[in-house]
């Protein structure tokens, strides 16, 4: 990857990549060919990746609930309004955000050709940068790397290309110096020994709180490794039942995954800056808490086998907190 790309030419590439996050349609083969990507997979593959593993919505990664919609989506809607655009039905979908980013780039280029529009050019340029720094960078790089890990060949190549493209865009303004406020205000992971299991589970599955993106595939991998039964259902349901089977081992495996993702965040902190450092800290904190809980759970199990019941553990909280 190479020289700086100036808008609006960059818009074409971004739009094309964004469109490939949409359900497969007639334009996909043409786009894939133009981009030198393998043939797009079928609709079922697309649905499995974006509908069951990695949801392409900013609100999932930036919202305290870890779900589509809510305050995080509303915040992004506000951004659309602030830049004078009609808010689309799904304002925080990756394709919508990329489309907006491309559109702002085009607007900037058009204005740049207008005499006397310097102030407006600056305004649009800053808006575009704000979109990248506040609503894309804090989640999209981690999201795309997880696509590269979990997706098939096509999606891995696609994610790599989009990540490279966005890193390139980010590099034009340098790494992000300060954390977006909405990261600051996201509450950290609570200790289940203080607040119960349910809030803990919710927070663990909310990336902005835990610093970790936990997918169904991750839970399946842990279940396989620990030879546990995986109950089919939403992630919270599956996790609850994994905990019920072998809490110390599951907690330890989760801690290991959190530590791994913390390392990935750390590796990104140079090009991305403050948001990556923030998420690294959250992931390390999560890993530490999970290890502590795993240790406590093991001690509790030993105590139970000794007949001396210990403090509350996640395993016992599982039934209390649900």
């Amino acid at each position: 990857m190479s020289d700086p790309v100036t808008p609006p030419e960059a818009g074409e590439l971004l739009r094309a990549l964004a469109h490939l996050a949409e359900p497969p349609g007639p334009a996909h083969p043409t786009l894939a060919e133009a981009l030198g990507l393998p043939a797009p997979p079928d609709a079922a593959t697309h649905t499995d990746l974006f509908g069951f593993q990695l949801y392409p919505y900013a609100s999932v990664y930036l919202g305290s609930e870890g779900m589509i919609g809510g305050e995080a989506e509303e915040r992004i809607s506000g951004f659309w309004r602030a830049v004078g655009r009609e808010v689309p039905p799904e304002p925080d979908h990756l394709a919508s955000l990329m489309g907006l980013y491309a559109a702002l780039g085009e607007e900037e280029a058009e204005l740049a050709a207008e005499p006397g529009a310097e102030a407006r050019v600056t305004l649009v340029a800053r808006s575009r940068r704000a979109l990248l720094e506040e609503h894309l960078a804090p989640w999209v790089f981690a999201f795309l790397e997880r696509i590269e890990e979990l997706g098939g060949t096509f999606h891995a190549r696609w994610a790599e290309m989009l990540r490279g493209c966005l890193l390139h865009e980010l590099a034009r303004g340098g790494a992000i110096a300060s954390r977006p406020v909405h990261l600051e205000v996201a509450p950290p992971l609570p200790d289940p020994r203080d607040e119960g299991a349910a809030p803990f589970m919710t927070a663990l599955l909310a990336p902005v709180r835990s610093g970790v993106i936990l997918t169904r595939a991750d839970l399946a991998r842990i279940a396989r490794a620990l030879e546990l039964g995986l109950r089919a259902g939403e992630r919270r349901y599956a996790l609850k039942h994994l905990m019920g089977q072998a809490a110390p081992d599951v907690l330890a495996a989760l801690a290991e995954e959190a530590e791994r993702q913390a390392d990935l965040h750390a590796a990104r902190s140079a090009p991305i800056g403050a948001p990556a450092s923030f998420l690294e800290a959250r992931a390390r904190g999560t890993a530490e808490l999970l290890r502590t809980l795993a240790g406590a759970a093991r001690a509790s199990e030993l105590a139970e086998s000794d007949g001396t019941a210990g403090e509350t553990t996640p395993a016992t909280l599982e039934s209390r907190g649900s």
Partner: protein, 974 residues
């Protein structure tokens, strides 16, 4: 590969795909309309047959666009034509349509019900018994055409052109028929507008010289709507989607509606005023803006005709703008929030908050009044006039997010031939001298005016119009239509049976939206587009290689389209060209031969729609093929402030600027792709035409008003008898509390539910299932007071000429002290008549002297037909025809029928049935005369010896000489 290279590769791929006329990005569902088939696949679209589920059976369709005809919005439709059976299977939205953008209300897809209606009229019918008896015989089109044409030809030969009349409801087309009537030399265009929108139009017309608003809702900061009707009926869908966009972008929505309408439920401020007090509210807002200096002084100085006003009204020709402001503030200082609160019953503090909100909009104030209060009240035209006052104060006219005049946001293309003659004779029945300022024809007074003038109409066409049912005082219409001394031949052109068609001599079946050609264009945002309606099966079969020369070859039965009908009729009226009217429909390409619709539209699309030939060429197709393929074309977007545009030098030749700044030039009118129309501003005394106005030294286009400015003060209104109403003011309605007895309440009937239209949707089973009756909205407090215990109880509503019986709906969604009943239900057919069974009751009509009655003998319900769904009709109540009990209320200025009624509500009598109606037409006649007495006739008030201000709009404009007032008429039969 670098990013640049990747960019270039994608660009190249896109260019290649788009060069083929195909869609590169079909669009993401969250951003565009991905659920629509890409347009390049419209010729052969494959879907799974839902009825075959769980089998995967493929159905192949050809998708052919047309334009909806179920209201005036003209939204785009896509007909799914089954390629195997060549039948239309369903209608969806057309994503290529700039106004509707692929979105439709329920009425669009329900077109499939109408074209498959088992009771629709499929062949020309001729009356076999006496009028209204219900005996019909099938005749050929040739027989009907020859009979009608012969009668018209005789009238023309005997110089009785004014005895030919065309009475239209929804035009649904852009000037085809009005131009034809002008070519015939017939001043017989009779619209429904004075029972519909004249009140609002008049208010706009006297400000701007254009008679409809076009609010830019999507870009507004504040939206003010005085209309439930607009957003649930007229332009409902194109406007509603933009209002929602505006709201999503942060706009505040203010709705004035006495009822909690669909629109009101979305409002930030829902104001439920006493009906008729709306102008008092707007004047209070305006007064506050003036006193607080919350208006755009510079705009007012530049664009209002304040100088003319100061000279004419205050005798101060040299008055400064500061002096005008002083006068203006003084004029309106009495319109306080407290005054408006007392009139409207609203809270003064709430009005103050609303005023603050409106003033905060700046130039992004989008306002709209259509029917509603503008059509309900005496002086209702002041609703639009006072509402536009607010826009004019803020300079929010023709601005982004503001309100545009309609003419700048629509595009009517020039046809291949224009009429080169004007009617010589003035039609006194339609344009009576008692109402010289009437914005449109006094259509609903026809039974009374015919009687007053002892008039006779030899050939009377009703077309998509049902005056017996739609107009007030319907029994007077029945009497007139039944009287051979008044109506010689009544030709009802309609796709479906209606109450008026029962009293016709011929019933001629005309096509629905997928069975006819028309061009349409409406003001729905700041842009201009042209929509094309086409017979989709004719287009589909032509595309598959057949040669069809007549739309009847593709339509069901012998259903025709009006375009071809009028061409054929014109040629039969004037077979040898001696009357000089046949040439209007002669081929341009083949002189002496008949024009075909194919040629007519080909010529227009090739010559009169800027940008279309280029767009078509880019896809390698002809302009006509482009329109047949996509159904619509956007001519311009972001039209902006036309009034501020400099007049080009080429139009400035031997210029004279008069003392009021009006600029006249001898330069000829430059060629325009648009059809001529609009106001007619007189030339100066030396024959120069007006090209603009000089403002601050610059010659700009200005407004098409006599002054060239926004007319805060209307010289026209002042000089034609109404000086006290010449500036925006407040007229107390005929249902003002001061004018009601203590036991009377206003009845609001100027609304309907969004899934029904006036008279043409009763044959749509889906729409009927959603809405099939019209109960009386009554507040719980009123229900308790008049003794109505529960929803569903029968009540009698007694008005000035009779009563009707219906069920009550007790709801807090209406202001206490006011009742309401929607006007789109209560359809009926007389016993013994054919007609549709969906949505209609069968009734016995009774007459004893002047006393008429209507009593249902069979309500709605299931019936056997080729459509098994008709056996599944689960409802029997189809409402009540309340308009029969409404006397005519002509506003003496605008001519608008003032719909609101003063009524008494009480529990029904033991023998009463829902749907019962009783009316005394003698009382109706007396009420007409009471209102007529309020009029100020041109005989006494014309300032120049003419019947009507020449500059004002008129659908068919007679010769100038016909405007001259004749000798005073002696009324007869009064």
């Amino acid at each position: 590969m670098t990013h640049d290279e990747l960019n270039q590769r994608v660009s190249a791929a896109r260019a290649e795909v788009e060069a083929r006329g195909e869609t590169f990005y079909p669009g993401a569902s969250r951003v565009h309309l991905a659920s629509f088939p890409p347009k390049e696949r419209w010729d052969d679209w494959v879907e799974l047959d839902s009825k075959a589920w769980p089998e995967r059976v493929e159905k192949r369709y050809m998708l052919v666009p047309t334009t909806c005809f179920n209201c005036e919005s003209a939204c785009g439709l896509l007909a799914y034509v089954d390629r195997d059976t060549l039948q239309v299977r369903k209608f969806e939205g057309n994503p290529e349509h700039p106004g509707s953008r692929g979105r439709n209300c329920a009425k669009g897809p329900a077109t499939i019900n109408q074209i498959t209606d088992p009771d629709r009229i499929l062949h020309p019918l001729k009356r076999a018994g006496r009028r209204g008896e219900g005996k019909w015989e099938r005749v050929s089109w040739d027989e009907a055409l020859d009979d009608i044409a012969g009668r018209i030809r005789t009238a023309m030969n005997e110089d009785r052109h004014d005895q030919v009349m065309y009475h239209v409801g929804r035009p649904g087309e852009d000037g085809y028929t009005t131009r034809m009537l002008a070519a015939w030399g017939v001043d017989g265009h009779n619209s429904h507008t004075n029972v519909c929108s004249s009140g609002a139009r008049a208010g706009y017309h006297w400000w701007m010289g254009m008679d409809r608003p076009s609010p830019d809702h999507a870009n507004a900061a504040v939206i003010v709507l005085v209309s439930s009707h607009l957003e649930t009926g007229h332009y409902f869908n194109p406007h509603a989607q933009r209002i929602v966009e505006g709201k999503k972008n942060g706009a505040k929505l203010i709705v004035l509606d006495t009822r909690l309408s669909n629109t009101a439920t979305h409002a930030d401020h829902w104001l439920s005023p006493y009906p008729g007090s709306e102008p008092a509210i707007f004047l209070a807002v305006a007064s506050w803006m003036l006193q607080e200096g919350r208006y755009d002084r510079e705009y007012v100085r530049r664009w209002w005709n304040w100088g003319e006003y100061m000279e004419a009204v205050h005798g101060e020709p040299e008055a400064s703008f500061d002096r005008f402001e002083e006068v203006l503030k003084g004029t309106y200082e009495g319109y306080t929030f407290e005054f408006a609160a007392a009139e409207s019953g609203l809270d003064a503090d709430e009005l103050r908050v609303v005023a603050e909100t409106i003033a905060s909009a700046g130039t992004r104030l989008a306002t709209h009044n259509w029917r509603s209060a503008g059509s309900g009240n005496l002086g209702g035209w002041q609703v639009a006039r006072t509402l536009t006052f607010l826009n004019a104060l803020l300079g929010a006219l023709a601005t982004e997010g503001g309100t545009f005049p309609n003419s700048w946001n629509r595009f009517s293309p020039r046809p291949p031939r224009l009429p080169h003659q004007h009617p010589k004779r003035w039609n006194e029945v339609l344009w009576p001298r008692e109402y010289p300022l009437s914005l449109m024809e006094m259509s609903y007074l026809m039974p009374h005016l015919m009687r007053d003038q002892d008039a006779f109409v030899d050939v009377y066409f009703t077309r998509v119009y049902n005056p017996v049912w739609t107009n007030p005082d319907g029994f007077s219409w029945v009497e007139m239509l039944s009287d051979a001394k008044r109506i010689g031949l009544h030709v009802a052109m309609t796709p479906t049976w209606n109450e008026t068609a029962y009293f016709a001599d011929y019933v001629l079946p005309m096509g629905h939206s997928s069975e006819r050609h028309d061009i349409v264009s409406y003001e729905q945002y700041d842009g201009q587009w042209v929509g094309f309606r086409q017979p989709v099966l004719r287009t589909a079969r032509t595309r598959m290689g057949e040669t069809l020369t007549d739309t009847r070859q593709a339509n069901p039965g012998e259903v025709w389209e009006e375009n071809e009908f009028w061409i054929e009729l014109t040629w039969r009226i004037d077979p040898d060209g001696s009357l000089g009217i046949r040439e209007f429909f002669e081929s341009v390409e083949r002189p002496g031969e008949k024009m075909t619709v194919e040629e007519y539209y080909r010529w227009i699309f090739e010559n009169s729609v800027p940008g279309l030939p280029e767009a078509a060429a880019a896809e390698g197709i002809s302009p006509l093929e482009y329109m047949r393929r996509y159904g619509a074309f956007e001519v311009e977007r972001k039209v902006g402030r036309v009034h501020e545009r400099p007049v080009p030098d080429a139009e400035l030749e031997d210029v004279r600027v008069d003392e009021d700044g009006r600029v006249y030039s001898r330069a000829p009118v430059p060629p325009s792709p648009k059809a001529p129309g609009g106001t007619k501003i007189d030339p100066d005394v030396e024959g120069r035409r007006r090209v603009g106005v000089r403002v601050d030294g610059e010659i700009v286009r200005g407004w098409p008003t006599p002054s060239g400015k926004l007319e805060f003060w209307s010289r026209t209104v002042a000089e034609w008898g109404w000086p006290e109403l010449a500036i925006p003011t407040y007229v107390k309605s005929h249902i003002h509390p001061e004018k009601l007895e203590s036991d009377q309440m206003p009845l609001i009937s100027t609304f309907r539910v969004p899934v029904q239209i006036h008279t043409r949707s009763a044959n749509a089973k889906w729409l009927d299932e959603i809405a099939h009756t019209n109960p009386l909205w009554i507040h719980p407090a009123d229900a308790a007071r008049v003794g109505v215990a529960r929803t569903g109880d029968l009540v009698r509503v007694e008005g000035e000429i009779g009563y009707f019986v219906l069920k009550a709906w007790i709801t807090e969604g209406i202001r206490p002290g006011v009742v309401a009943c929607s006007h789109h239900m209560g359809r009926w057919k007389p016993e013994g008549q054919p007609g549709q069974r969906l949505g209609m009751m069968t009734v016995a009509l009774g007459q004893e002297g002047s006393q008429w009655s209507l009593r249902p003998t069979e309500h709605g319900g299931p019936f056997e037909s080729p459509d098994p769904d008709t056996m599944r009709v689960w409802w029997t109540d189809v409402g009540v025809h309340q308009n029969l009990t409404h006397a005519v209320h002509p506003d003496p200025v605008s001519g608008m029928h003032c719909w609101h009624q003063a009524v008494r509500v009480r529990p029904a009598e033991p023998d009463d049935q829902p749907g019962d109606v009783s009316v005394d037409v003698a009382r109706a006649r007396a009420t007409y005369q009471d209102w007529l007495a309020m009029a100020r006739s041109a005989d006494e008030h014309s300032p120049d010896g003419t019947r009507r201000p020449y500059w004002m709009l008129r659908p068919v404009r007679p010769e100038r000489e016909a405007y001259r007032l004749p000798e005073r008429r002696t009324p007869v039969g009064v």
